[in-house]
Amino acid sequence: MKKIITAAVSILLTFTLSAQEGRSIYNRYSEAENVSAVYISPAMFRIMGKLPEMNLSGNDVPFSSIVKSLNGFYLIESENSSINASLKADAEKMIRSGRYELLMEARDSGQTVHIYISGDEQTVDGLVMFVDEKDSVAFINIDGNMSRAKLEKLIADSASDTQ
């Protein structure tokens, strides 16, 4: 009985802590000056999952299938130089928590891009993207139960197809 209780508490606390990572960053920075912030809740994703297939831009990129597998979405775009460094540090701390592996990284013209994912070979349960440009940073965190193959295809598909 004691083992069951301990395991249950651990699982619940782990769930709470991991769900906290993106949320705590969002809560800390979303109200700051010159910051754009977007949060989409699990409830909103459930509603979105019930909508008819949407293809807003007339493109055939399979967004709908990915959207239905998502639980949470946090986006912070900051042009506030006084918080950019601490936002970056918090994002790096989140990455170092051990769940995430680097999917891709690039540095070009004063801009660095990192995309990290967590999960296993089949499924991605978390994605973090961090873009550090000269005067602005962007932090994106997506939680869900995404097909790894579909997600990698979606991200890696040439951007020229989408313009």
Binding site: E31, S36, V38, L56, S57
Partner: protein, 158 residues
């Protein structure tokens, strides 16, 4: 009446109405305030404007009454006497509504010109996202997000 019709029938009257307000109030700031108040009042009652046959005389009458109210209020404030005291709650509501509007305006003024242009097209001209996209060349999704974020920012700011 649609926003587009309002923009084409009423907004072009602004210069003439300003001259009238200035003629009455003899102050550029007061004139600008009253013209702004008039337009906000008209906007709030868009539906009733369909029955107005001649916009300019209609606006002139409203503006004249507004200016008279302004002068009366200023005299009452200056003398400390209040002849016909409106309900205290109405005054408070009016003050809060004005303050809220001014805060919202200040937030919109901080936006870059391109974003203001999009908001104008969406709110006043009541253009669809598709139409705005065709005119500006901006992506429809960007336009949707811009409007949502402006609304959210104003909501947070006030």
């Amino acid at each position: 009446m649609s926003g587009k019709e309002f923009a084409s029938l009423y907004l072009p009257l602004s210069a003439d109405l300003y001259r009238i307000a200035y003629y009455i109030l003899e102050s550029s700031q007061d004139a600008e305030d009253e013209v702004q108040n008039l337009y906000v009042k008209l906007w709030k009652s868009l539906d009733s404007l369909d029955s107005v046959n001649n916009p300019k005389p209609y606006c002139i009458r409203l503006l004249k009454n507004q200016c008279i109210d302004r002068i009366r209020k200023r005299k009452a404030d200056a003398s400390g006497l209040v002849k016909d005291e409106p309900d205290a709650c109405d005054i408070q509501d009016e003050i809060e509504s004005r303050e809220t509007l001014e805060k919202a305006m200040a937030l919109i003024d901080t936006l870059p010109e391109t974003k203001r242009k999009v908001l104008r097209m969406h709110v006043i001209d009541q253009m669809s996202y598709d139409e705005i996209s065709k005119v500006t060349g901006m992506n429809i999704l960007t336009i949707r997000v811009l409007v949502s974020q402006a609304r959210a920012r104003i909501r947070k700011g006030i």
